[in-house]
C-alpha cells in the first residue's frame, strides 16, 4: 500500500468515526435521537383505547401542550391545531389503518406512524405563522390530500 493511500484511508476511517461520535453524542447526551417510542396498541381498537378515544389538544403545563392524534386515510384527527408562539408541543400519534408519515414542513418533525405502534415526537414552535402538516408515506389514492395545518399565534 502506498503512503498516500494510507493517508486517504486513515482520513476516510476518521471521517466515519467523527460522524459516529457526533451522532452518538447528539442521540445520547443531547437527547436529540430520532423518534423511537416503544408503546403498542391494538390497531383495530384505536377509537376505544386511551388516550386515542379522545383525540385533541390539551395544555399540560405553562407553554406546553399535548396533542393526541390519529392518522387515517386520508386525514389527521384533530385537524387545524392552534398554539401560542413559544409553546412546546408533544405529539402522540398512531395509525388506524396503513403506514403513514407525520411531517411538519420547515421543521425537523418527521416520524413514521405505524399501525400497532404509538409514536411520539416533540417540537417547540417559536416563529408565529401557519405550518403545513403532511403525510409523507404513500398511503393510497388520496395520499396527496392528506394534510392539515398548525397555526402558531
Amino acid at each position: 500500500m502506498h503512503l498516500d493511500e494510507k493517508i486517504w484511508l486513515t482520513l476516510s476511517f476518521g471521517m466515519i468515526m467523527i460522524f459516529m461520535f457526533i451522532t452518538g453524542y447528539q442521540t445520547f447526551a443531547l437527547e436529540m435521537g430520532p423518534p423511537s417510542n416503544n408503546e403498542l396498541i391494538d390497531p383495530q381498537k384505536v377509537d376505544e383505547t386511551a388516550p386515542f378515544d379522545e383525540p385533541g389538544i390539551k395544555q399540560v403545563g405553562e407553554n406546553e401542550y399535548e396533542v393526541v392524534m390519529t392518522l387515517q386515510v386520508f386525514s389527521f384527527n384533530p385537524m387545524d391545531i392552534e398554539v401560542p408562539a413559544g409553546s412546546t408541543v408533544h405529539f402522540i400519534l398512531t395509525s388506524k389503518d396503513v403506514v403513514h408519515g407525520f411531517e411538519i414542513a420547515g421543521t425537523n418533525v418527521n416520524a413514521m406512524v405505524m399501525p400497532g405502534h404509538i409514536q411520539k415526537i416533540t417540537q417547540k414552535f417559536d416563529e408565529p405563522g401557519k405550518y403545513l402538516v403532511l403525510c409523507n408515506e404513500y398511503c393510497g389514492a388520496g395520499h396527496q390530500v392528506m394534510s392539515t395545518t398548525i397555526t402558531v399565534k
Partner: protein
C-alpha cells in the same frame, strides 16, 4: 485421479484459449443477449413512465383515472430497480463467467434459461395487477396495504428465478475451481461470486416476508400481519438490492475501465478485499431506512448507523483506486505535472466517458448516503424528495451510466459485431444528454426535499403551501430533467438494438485489464468464500437477531389488510 485432473486442466486450458480466440459461444451469447434485451426494453418503458411522473409533479400533466400517478410510480420502480438492474447484472456477469471461465457448462445454460423464464413469468404476474390498478402499492409493498395475491406470487417467482441464476453461477465457479486447484478465481468471476452471494442473502429476507407472511395473509388464511417485521425484512432486501447493482457497476470500474483507457488494473489483493468487505457488510445496511420508525430502541438504531456507515469505507477505498489507475495510466502515456494525466484520458470514448461520469456522481451520491444514514440528519430528509434525488444519483447515474458504458462493448461482443465511430459519437451525445438531465433532476429533488417536499406524492399544492415553501420551481425543473432523460433513453435503447442486430459484423474484445507486472501475489485467503459467507452470516445475525426477536415477541395485535387506492 491425478491424470484425470491434469486432463481436465488440459481440456479446460484448451477451451480457455478457444474461447478467447473465437469469442463467446453462440449458446452463451444468446443467454446474455436475451437478458440485455429485456433490460433495455424495461429501460424504455420505465423511462417513459418516469417522464409522465416528472410532468405530473411539475404540474403540467394530469394523469387519467385508468393510469394514475401511483400505478405509474409502482411500475416505474419495479421496471427500473428490479427488472433493468437485475437483467443487466445477470446478462453482464453470465457473459463475464463465460468469457473468463472458458464457457458456461451445458447444465448451467439450462439453469440460466429456467431462471430467465421463471423471472419473465413472475414479472408478467406482477405487471397484470398493476395495470388493473389492483397493486398500486409501490415496489416496497408495505403491509397492511394489500395488493392482489397475483402480485406477490409474481414477486416470489422473480426471487426463485434469481436463485436459479445464482445456483448456475456457483456451479460454474465451483467447476472451474475444481479444475484450477490453488489458482485465484479470475477477477470478474470473483465479483460475480460476490454479487450472487449477496443476491441470495438479500432475497432470502424478502422471500420469508412474501412467502410466509404476506401470501397467507393476502389469501385470507390468516387475518392479520406483523407490519413491523414485514417492513424490516423488506429493507434487509431492498437496500442490499441497490447495493448489488452498485457492486456490479464497481466490477466494471475495477476490471474493465483500466483496459479501456489502456492501463493496468488496481492492486488485485485490495480489489478482492473491497469485494469481500462489501459482501460481508451489505445486508445489515438496510436498517437505516427505519431510523424514524417507532418500536426500535435508540441503541439498536445507533448500532445500525455504524453498520450503514461502515459500507462507506470500501467505497472510499474504491475512490482512491480509480484515481490512482487514471493517474498511473496518464503518466505512462507521457503526462506531466500534477494534473496532466487528465488530458491523456480518452474522453471521446463512450466506453470510458459514461462510466467516468458514473464514478464522479458517486462522490455526491455517497456523501448524501452518509448524511441520510445518520440519525438526526435522516430525520430532516426522510421520505422527502431528497431521498428520490439520492437514488437517482446512485442508481440513475453511478449504476446505470456504468451499465450504458458497458453496453457499448458488451452488446457488440455478444453479437459478433463492432462499435462503429458513428455509434460511439451517438453514445457520447447520449451520455451528455443523460448527464444534464440527471444533474438537473437530482439537484432539484435534493433541494425540494430539504424544503420538505414529500416523495411518492402526486401533484398537489397543499392549498398553495407549495409556493410559499419554495417547492414549485424545483418541481418544474424535475419535469425538465425527466424530458431530457427520456430523449437519452430513446437514443440508448436504439443504440443497444442497433448494435445487437444491425451493426457491422466483426470481433469485439471483452476488455479485462491485467495486473501490474511487478505486483505481489495475492494471498489465497481471498478465495475462501465459505469463510466469508460465514462471517457475513455472523454480521447479519449481530444486526438482526435482537431487533427481529423483539419485534416478534413484543408484537402488537396484527393488522388486517387494506386496499386504500
Amino acid at each position: 485421479m491425478q491424470t484425470s485432473v491434469s486432463q481436465n486442466k488440459l481440456v479446460s486450458g484448451f477451451t480457455d484459449k478457444a474461447n478467447k480466440a473465437l469469442g463467446i459461444s453462440k449458446q452463451d451469447a444468446l443467454i446474455s443477449k436475451s437478458y440485455l434485451a429485456v433490460a433495455f426494453i424495461a429501460l424504455l418503458l420505465g423511462g417513459l413512465l418516469g417522464l409522465l411522473q416528472g410532468l405530473n409533479r411539475a404540474g403540467l400533466l394530469e394523469l387519467p383515472a385508468w393510469l394514475n400517478y401511483y400505478q405509474v410510480l409502482t411500475a416505474h420502480g419495479i421496471l427500473l430497480v428490479v427488472v433493468l438492474s437485475a437483467f443487466f447484472t445477470i446478462g453482464y456477469f453470465y457473459a463475464g463467467l463465460s468469457h473468463t471461465l472458458g464457457g458456461l457448462l451445458p447444465k448451467v445454460r439450462k439453469i440460466a434459461w429456467i431462471g430467465f423464464w421463471t423471472k419473465i413469468v413472475g414479472f408478467v404476474l406482477v405487471v397484470i395487477p398493476i395495470l388493473m390498478n389492483e397493486a398500486s402499492v409501490m415496489y416496497t409493498f408495505y403491509p397492511p396495504m394489500k395488493a392482489h395475491p397475483m402480485f406477490y406470487f409474481g414477486l416470489a417467482l422473480i426471487v426463485v428465478g434469481v436463485w436459479f441464476l445464482a445456483a448456475g453461477a456457483f456451479i460454474n465457479v465451483a467447476n472451474w475451481r475444481k479444475n484450477h486447484k490453488g489458482e485465484h478465481l479470475p477477477i470478474l468471476a470473483f465479483f460475480a461470486t460476490g454479487v450472487f452471494v449477496l443476491l441470495v442473502g438479500a432475497t432470502a429476507f424478502v422471500a420469508v416476508e412474501v412467502l410466509f407472511m404476506i401470501i397467507p395473509w393476502s389469501l385470507g388464511w390468516v387475518d392479520t400481519i406483523n407490519v413491523m417485521v414485514a417492513r424490516t425484512l423488506f429493507w434487509a432486501f431492498g437496500h442490499t438490492a441497490v447495493n448489488i447493482w452498485y457492486l456490479t457497476a464497481v466490477s466494471a470500474w475495477y476490471v474493465v475501465i483500466p483496459k479501456v483507457i489502456g492501463g493496468t488494473r488496481f492492486n488485485d489483493y485490495l480489489t478482492r478485499v473491497v469485494v469481500i468487505a462489501l459482501v460481508i457488510m451489505n445486508i445489515t445496511g438496510g436498517f437505516h431506512h427505519q431510523i424514524i420508525d417507532p418500536g426500535i430502541s435508540l441503541p439498536i438504531k445507533f448500532m445500525h448507523v455504524f453498520m450503514s456507515l461502515a459500507i462507506g469505507f470500501p467505497s472510499l477505498m474504491t475512490a482512491y483506486a480509480m484515481f490512482r489507475v487514471f493517474e498511473r495510466t496518464g503518466r505512462r502515456k507521457g503526462a506531466k505535472g500534477a494534473l496532466g494525466w487528465i488530458k491523456k484520458l480518452p474522453w471521446g470514448d463512450v466506453r470510458f466517458l459514461s462510466p467516468f461520469i458514473a464514478m464522479a456522481a458517486f462522490a455526491p451520491a455517497g456523501a448524501g448516503g452518509i448524511v441520510q444514514s445518520t440519525n438526526q440528519l435522516d430525520q430532516v430528509v426522510h421520505n422527502t424528495m431528497w431521498i428520490v434525488g439520492h437514488f437517482h444519483l446512485t442508481l440513475g447515474m453511478s449504476v446505470v451510466m456504468t451499465f450504458f458504458g458497458v453496453s457499448y462493448w458488451l452488446v457488440p461482443y455478444i453479437s459478433n459485431r463492432v462499435l462503429t465511430p458513428k455509434m460511439n459519437k451517438l453514445g457520447v451525445i447520449q451520455t451528455i444528454i443523460w448527464t444534464i438531465g440527471m444533474v438537473i433532476m437530482a439537484f432539484s429533488m435534493h433541494t425540494a426535499g430539504l424544503f420538505g417536499a414529500p416523495r411518492r406524492t402526486s401533484y398537489t399544492t397543499y392549498g398553495d403551501f407549495s409556493a410559499s415553501l419554495g417547492w414549485d420551481p424545483y418541481m418544474a425543473a424535475v419535469g425538465v430533467g425527466a424530458t431530457l432523460l427520456l430523449v437519452a433513453v430513446i437514443i440508448q435503447v436504439y443504440a443497444v438494438f442497433n448494435m445487437m442486430f444491425f451493426a457491422p459484423k466483426g470481433t469485439t474484445e471483452f476488455p479485462i485489464a491485467e495486473v501490474e507486472a511487478d505486483e505481489a501475489k495475492t494471498p489465497y485467503m481471498t478465495e475462501r468464500w465459505g469463510v466469508w459467507v460465514v462471517v457475513m452470516l455472523i454480521v447479519i445475525a449481530m444486526a438482526y437477531v435482537l431487533p427481529l426477536t423483539d419485534m416478534i415477541v413484543n408484537a402488537p395485535p396484527g393488522s388486517p389488510p387494506f386496499k386504500t387506492w
